[in-house]
Symmetry: C2
């Protein structure tokens, strides 16, 4: 399949399709119509057809989509048929949570190491991996062809660590530090600003209350 | 200030303004022009003025914005001048990370309790709070007027737990479970689907490589 120019809005919806299709697959469901998918995902069937048309359609009219085929094709588009060497910087609660939380291997992510600057953590095992010193990070990234670094360190050190990662050939940063990183445009950054997300929640709670008191 | 109808896109940008203004305030900066803010935030000055015009402008022409005033006004819009009683469901690594991670109190979030169904965790202290049994959750939510529940439990139990929370008067759910919750529309839900975010990262890495190989 060719990799055409697709809007980030469509891309943003692909992981959700992938998640639902994975569940359908696990339940042993072989085919699904855009209408059925629409019902479980609370997205219009027309939106689903439009999104899938970006990638050639995936389905036959009146016949529905093959769940496993669609799951695999969307997985390929998302790069999940490739493997990605990944390290975690910061072995605190969040770093440990991420190491243990995700179905890393199932999705092609190979957890290669976890780093921290707290000597008390050196050698502690997290998911069968000993915590390494930050001083080892640069050589490690180069020697192990690390693609993705997950940053779960305070914002004060995140900017400098990101620079070092970039210098040593990282391709993408999954950034949990409360700071926007300035990296060259060839480095992909996906930010998870947790406090921003919590504030959106409080805004929406407040707005709902105001609307219903006025 | 009146609470006009503001687009979710503008709302989505407010926490980021709030974060930058908080940093400027901490650095002792009293005034900033839209152009200076534009330079540090990598957003156009015109975008900033448009966003702020939704809330009456905040600034005087040619004079810049008062940092502390703007910070406080945006905080009010986000509901951060109010207090929110918050509990965490799931005392695993992620629940512990969130309990320890956020500047909860500084932003008006009052951490009231943490719950798990693993007896091995009962009584363990997380941020000076003993882990409670899930069986205590419903009474606790009612008796302590809990506004927000943070879900860091597996998707298999998240849907049922969300229902119980709703029945007992929760206003908002910050959902880290890998499942979309079906709750009444008066309950606000903010999803953090971590694996979706990681997949967007791999997509963008792959897209960049394809663009530069073709």
């Amino acid at each position: 399949m060719e990799n055409k120019e697709i809007s980030q809005a469509v891309i943003g919806r692909l992981p959700r399709y992938f998640r639902y299709l994975g569940e359908l697959k696990d339940e042993g469901i072989e085919r699904i119509s855009s209408q059925e998918l629409s019902d479980i995902m609370h997205v219009t069937a027309s939106q689903i057809r439009q999104d899938f048309n970006n990638f050639g359609g995936f389905g036959q009219q009146g016949y529905g989509y093959k769940v496993e085929y669609l799951y695999e094709e969307i997985g390929k588009i998302l790069g999940l048929d490739k493997t990605h060497n990944l390290i975690i910087i910061g072995a605190g609660n969040l770093g440990q949570a991420l190491a243990n939380y995700m179905n890393f291997e199932r999705r092609g992510f190979i957890f290669k190491g976890i780093f921290d600057n707290n000597p008390a953590l050196f050698g502690r095992k997290i998911r069968d991996m000993e915590v390494k010193s930050m001083e080892e990070m640069e050589d490690f990234v180069r020697d192990n062809e690390i693609d993705i670094a997950v940053l779960t360190i305070p914002k004060t050190s995140a900017v400098m660590v990101a620079e070092k990662l970039v210098q040593n050939g990282i391709k993408g940063i999954w950034n949990f530090a409360h700071v926007d990183l300035n990296v060259p445009k060839e480095i992909q950054v996906e930010n998870v600003h947790l406090s921003d997300s919590l504030m959106k929640l409080t805004y929406n709670i407040l707005r709902f209350e105001n609307e219903n008191n006025n």
